[in-house]
Amino acid sequence: MYLTPAFVKRAQFEAAVAKVARRLGPDIISVTPTLDNDWQGEPAVFFLVILSDAASKRDRLLNVTQRVSDAIVRQVQPLEKWGVLPYFNYTNESEQSKINQHARA
């Protein structure tokens, strides 16, 4: 079975993501990569991006999410360098706080 570099060198991959995430600016609270397969069984990375509440307003959202995904794809190169297809999910600080509360309850 062939494992893609992201799975084999998980720590290095996560470090590469963290390095880019730190440069994304104050609107981006955190970027958490999770390695898994997509629905077709292809190796994939699912980025959970937590945005500031201000950045997730409807009039700004698309601009912010396209900037974030472009930066990560171009600088980390998930597919070319690490062999995983990138997918992105977004939430904001308030939503994430509620999710965490539900998880604790």
Partner: protein, 213 residues
């Protein structure tokens, strides 16, 4: 109004159902409906090339989610490689950028739709749902700008059945025969020979359709 437009509008309507206290059911239906909007947009655009309107729905049934996704991820990989060569500013680059956004939107929307419909362990957020709708809406606008371009038509054709992804790191055995990069900018992937042949084949089919049936 076309089905694709109706679906996008419906996704927006669902999104407004429980704004104050978003419910998972509404969020998930909105995400899923937005995906089907772009799914039907691209299929309807592809089948428009078929000369006999009464057979377009049957042709549309030949499109499937998996190959459409593979075609999209291949196209994004192609175009990302193309942009690394820093192609000159101009209409061709703009078309390529619009198509890249459309292909990304399709691929992302599809995976989100699967999660929204089947993965109850993953909570869908309002932010994710709005991003899904806005990304699809943006793809509709971009598609309208490029729908008659050869590169866009070739993308539609590739959705009928695409093979392996193109930019994954090669497995060790396969690296031996890897081509060396020349260093000079490569021609846009839009105009590679296979796609040209594909477009020509569809044109031929369309021209001959009345005599074939």
């Amino acid at each position: 109004m076309a089905l694709a437009d109706e679906l996008l509008e419906l996704a927006q309507d669902i999104a407004k159902l429980h704004v104050a206290n978003p419910r998972q059911a509404s969020l998930r239906r909105a995400v899923s409906t937005a995906y089907y909007a772009i799914f039907h947009l691209l299929i309807s655009e592809a089948t428009l090339n078929w000369a006999r309107p009464e057979l377009r729905p049957a042709l549309g049934r030949l499109f499937d989610h998996g190959p459409m996704n593979t075609a999209s991820t291949n196209k994004v990989a192609d175009l990302d490689t193309h942009f690394k060569g820093d192609p000159p500013q101009g209409p061709e680059r703009n078309v390529a950028e619009h198509l890249r956004r459309v292909a990304i939107a399709f691929s992302q929307a599809q995976q989100r739709r699967i999660d929204a419909d089947y993965n109850t362990a993953k909570e869908v957020t309002d932010t994710d749902m709005i991003d899904q709708i806005e990304t699809v809406r943006d793809a509709f606008k971009r598609w309208n700008l490029i729908r008659d371009e050869g590169i866009a038509q070739a993308y539609l054709l590739s959705m009928l059945g695409s093979q392996r992804r193109q930019s994954e790191p090669k497995r060790p055995k396969e690296q031996k025969g890897r081509k060396k990069k020349s260093g000079k900018p490569q021609p846009p992937p839009s105009f590679n020979a296979i796609e040209e042949i594909g477009v020509a084949a569809v044109k031929l089919l369309v021209e001959r359709a009345p005599t074939l049936l």
